[in-house]
């Protein structure tokens, strides 16, 4: 094992240069003025008492430069670590050792195979073609490097000292890697292998029964019944005979956390107390320290915007300016497909494509390991993309990846956020977004003029119905995407009758949308149904406070649907005392997964037993392979419509089970498990927050620097989508009007330094559902009692 993780004691304990040097006092750590080589004009950065920097620059170049410098000052290690991980370079920093349930070298190999660096390189090629946009990115880069070059080793962030390495030069490709890393998190989830195996295991009838494409009760982003105002592009039909792929023996690659998603909505002025729109957004991401977001304000003579940024990327990503507000949630369009390679022989250097023989383009990836060793891995690039799943045991089932994020983007993609930051109305907003490609998002919008809207925006493949849902035959180029959906045909909705727009990762449309786009991962839409229900019932004098309560609502509509059904069949005579205790909890329950709720735990356990009990055949067929499992809403529907369906029967028993039998059996099993835990660990151990176990870990998984066992409620199906490791990474509520009033909070702090007062000072407020009023300074009025320090930036 190379690269010892324990640093030398002398340098580390040195109060003049070791970790003590990172123990800051309660201040910004900035001097009152800075003379920096990259400035073209002067600028002023005002820090408030939450360490949010308010940047007042005279032009876009200086704004980018200062943003780069300031972000580096507070988040350098995070910027570097994220991009090292995206590039598959963790072994360089950590040596060869286990992390999570893999090793650093295997993780790095996986990142290279998925084509992360390849994608970033293509991105830079595309971005370079936009000279003005690229100049701004280079200026941001220059700002970061000015900061890095000013550091002596005693001033390095703590993690460099603990892990024994130094920061390296920042480059535009690192920003591209950051974008690709977000793309992998949000647009890197599909179930093609799992679906292929399920399709192979069941008859078509059973498959369609268990895994229908559309939930009849869904509440899509674009309301049901909305008419489409365009002529769809015609698609070539497939006339060839379909050959079955069979099953895929490969283990699907590790997927991003299932619970990454978000909520956003905007309420029209006709339904708010102020008469002006209110916009809300809470993105759900992995919760780490340092936090994924960095709050700031940026102003030039052209615009004045506030919001959150991603360290490593210029501009404000989610936020508002004096005219509009915007936010994002993830969409579920399938933009990642797998193709089975038809090799000519076992050397795997040539493959068949449309009866022609093509050669693979090998790319040798060099994985450096701390301590000197280098590991080489050859990745084969094909017509489709890199071959990710490769095995000598099953050479006929090797899979290549076709992913939208691999393609060279439109060069205007670089300017999307800059233009969003400057937008003043819906037209500006739509124009700014039209070149945005990946990860595709539901962009919510509200303006001072009174408009609300959602634009579903991304680069979407043109597919035949059913295409890409499963692994496809890679020997026919006909199976490729037939191009991309014209951007003007992307779904959008503006000022709908119901008085609000909303999205919570559900399907963008109802089945009437003329293009096929699902076939990625399912996304049970309990959150969106619940949010839309609550917004519809909220009346006509809606306030920000009510919307904050909705963001932090722990209610789960799936429980509201299932519990009455369960209770219908539960036999209540002959219950033990323990069972009666748990039943009473359910009977008293308000269907909210609050922190102290024991009923939530009971339902979770009961539902889990019920699910396993009903789907025993699926589990059996799916053992030892990557397999698709039905969604809870489907089970609920079957239960309501046909409780005697054969699905409830457990084939391994002689008895013919019905839903009633399974429900009772699973209740008893759940009570048994819970009672065992209660006896050995006490009643408090059954409280939902302890069962869920929410943590906010340090990015390098150093336990001492993280926060564990947060007392917070939530559920991935509740608006407050808090789970063990992921949750609302930013909560924002913006009231448009003559004076914008905005509120926000995130679980962390502005400083990435664990030794700072500002490392995790927001967590407690966020935990209890409180919001900070955001300080939106005017260019001509920069005074406020919350101002902590003003720093002037000069040439």
């Amino acid at each position: 094992m190379s690269g010892s993780p324990v640093p030398a004691l002398g340098p580390l304990l040195n109060p003049f240069g070791g970790f003590w040097n990172n123990a800051e006092g309660k201040s910004t750590g900035m001097p009152s003025s800075l003379s920096l080589p990259g400035m073209t004009d002067k600028a002023e950065v005002i820090f408030d008492d939450r360490l949010v920097p308010h940047i007042f620059a005279e032009n876009d170049m200086d704004a980018a430069y200062v943003q780069g410098y300031i972000t580096a000052k507070y988040r350098l290690w995070q910027m570097e670590f994220t991009t090292y991980a995206a590039a598959g370079r963790l072994s360089e920093i950590l040596g060869d050792r286990p992390i999570g349930n893999t090793t650093t070298v295997d993780y790095d190999k996986q990142q290279r195979r998925l084509g992360m660096v390849y994608a970033a390189e293509n991105t830079i090629e595309g971005w370079k073609k936009n000279t003005s946009g690229f100049k701004l990115l280079e200026k941001y880069t220059e700002g970061v490097n000015t900061y890095i070059n000013s550091l002596s080793p005693s001033e390095y962030p703590l993690e460099y000292k603990l892990m024994g390495y130094a920061p390296e030069e920042w480059k535009p490709i690192k920003t591209a890697l950051l974008v690709k890393s977000m793309a992998m998190r949000l647009a890197g989830r599909e179930n093609d292998i799992e679906t292929t195996n399920a399709f192979d295991a069941f008859t078509k009838e059973t498959f369609d029964f268990l895994y229908p494409d559309w939930n009849p009760n869904q509440s899509p982003v674009i309301p049901k019944g909305t008419k489409w105002d365009f002529e769809p592009v015609p698609l070539k039909k497939d006339t060839a005979k379909q050959t079955s792929i069979g099953s895929i023996p490969h283990q699907a690659q590790p997927k991003p956390n299932l619970h990454l998603g978000s909520n956003n909505w905007a309420v029209h002025g006709s339904r708010t107390a102020t008469g002006k729109p209110i916009l809300c957004n809470d993105p759900h991401l992995m919760l780490n320290l340092p936090s994924v977001w960095f709050e700031l304000q940026i102003s030039t003579p052209e615009y004045n915007a506030y919001g959150v940024s991603l360290p490593g990327m210029p501009n404000i990503i989610i936020g508002f300016n004096e005219y509009i507000a915007w936010g994002q949630t993830n969409t579920d369009w399938d933009i990642m497909d797998w193709y089975r390679m038809d090799w000519t022989d076992n050397s795997k250097t040539k493959y068949i494509l449309d009866e022609n023989v093509k050669s693979v383009e090998p790319r040798v990836e060099e994985i450096k390991i701390k301590g000197g060793k280098i590991v080489y891995d050859t990745v084969k690039y094909t017509f489709w993309g890199p071959v990710v799943h490769e095995s000598d045991e099953h050479p006929k089932k090797d899979l290549a990846l076709r992913w939208v994020a691999h393609d060279e983007p439109n060069s205007n993609e670089l300017l999307v956020f800059k233009q969003l930051n400057k937008a003043k109305n819906y037209e500006d907003f739509s124009n700014a977004l039209k070149d945005y490609e990946c990860p595709a998002q539901n962009y919510v919008f509200a303006s001072k003029d009174g408009d609300i809207a959602i634009n579903v925006q991304g680069k979407f493949p043109l597919k035949r119905p059913g295409q890409g849902k499963m692994v496809e035959d890679g020997s026919r180029s006909f199976n490729n995407w037939q191009g991309f959906i014209p951007q003007a045909h992307n779904p959008r909705i503006k000022n709908p009758e119901r008085g609000f727009v909303s999205s919570a990762n559900q399907h963008s449309t109802d089945p009437s949308y003329p293009y096929y786009y699902i076939g990625g991962s399912g996304f049970e839409d309990h959150r969106s149904r619940y949010i839309n229900k609550r917004l519809s019932e909220m009346g006509d004098k809606i306030t920000s406070r009510q919307l904050m309560e909705l963001q932090t609502d722990n209610g789960v509509i799936a429980a509201m649907d299932l519990v009455p059904e369960f209770l219908k069949y539960l036999k209540r005579d002959n219950l033990t005392d323990a069972e009666r205790f748990y039943l009473n909890k359910i009977l008293e329950w308000d269907f909210h997964f609050d922190a102290g709720s024991i009923a939530g735990t009971v339902f979770d356990e009961w539902n889990s037993e019920f699910y396993k009990g009903v789907l025993d055949e699926v589990y059996k067929k799916g053992a030892n392979q990557s397999f698709l499992y039905p969604e809870t809403w489907r089970l609920t529907d079957i239960l309501k419509s046909n409780p005697l369906h054969w699905i409830f029967d457990n084939r391994s028993t002689n008895e013919l089970e019905t839903a009633e039998i399974i429900i009772n059996r699973s209740f008893r099993a759940a009570c048994k498990t819970l009672e065992e835990r209660k006896t050995s660990e006490g009643e408090a151990s059954l409280e939902w927050d302890k069962v869920k176990g929410s943590d906010i870990q340090h990015m390098a998984r150093i336990p001492a620097l993280g926060v564990f066992d947060l007392e917070i409620g939530g559920h991935h199906w509740a608006p407050n989508a808090m789970t063990a490791l992921a949750g609302p990474s930013w909560r924002m509520v913006v009231e448009l009007g003559n004076e914008v009033k905005a509120y926000g909070v995130y679980p962390g702090g502005q400083s990435g330094n664990p030794g700072s007062y500002y490392y995790k000072d927001f967590i407690e407020s966020w935990r209890v559902g409180e919001y900070y009023p955001l300080l939106f300074l005017k260019r001509d009025n920069r005074e406020d009692e919350r101002v902590m320090q003003k720093v002037s930036f000069k040439k």
């Binding site: 004691l9 002398g10 304990l13 109060p15 003590w20 040097n21 664990p754 007062y757 490392y759």
Partner: protein, 129 residues
């Protein structure tokens, strides 16, 4: 007196140099040079070397910790597996003291190679006549 002189010399010189240049090895270097320069006897040299380092790193880290409300030391203590930030301050001070003391001792021993070793202090007995 000599002990106080050496302690102070190490403390002040190291503080000055480390404040400007940070390097941890400046402390042992200064201790070695001062130890050689003042050429104290074995125990006194070690002890004052120890005290100089102990006080310098101990007091400075104490000051930093106070200014920081122990935010960082409590986390690093957990990282090291010790019970509190204060223990960490103690460890810092002890490490510095040990290294400094040993280097001062090395310095005075080294000096003894080129200069006669310092004499023991003559005890003056009062004669009773």
């Amino acid at each position: 007196m000599n002990i106080a002189k050496q302690t102070l010399a190490i403390f002040i010189l190291s503080f000055f140099l480390q404040y400007l240049f940070s390097y941890w090895w400046l402390l042992p270097l200064v201790a070695f040079l001062v130890g050689a320069g003042l050429h104290l006897r074995t125990f006194n040299s070690f002890f004052s070397g120890f005290l100089g380092g102990f006080l310098l790193w101990g007091l400075y880290s104490l000051f930093i910790d106070w200014n920081n409300s122990s935010i960082l030391s409590s986390q690093i203590a957990e990282l090291f597996g010790v019970s509190s930030g204060f223990i960490l301050i103690l460890i810092t001070a002890l490490l510095a003291g040990l290294v400094s003391g040993l280097c001062a001792l090395t310095g005075t021993f080294g000096r003894s190679v080129i200069t006669p070793p310092p004499p023991k202090r003559i005890k003056r007995y009062s004669y009773k006549r």
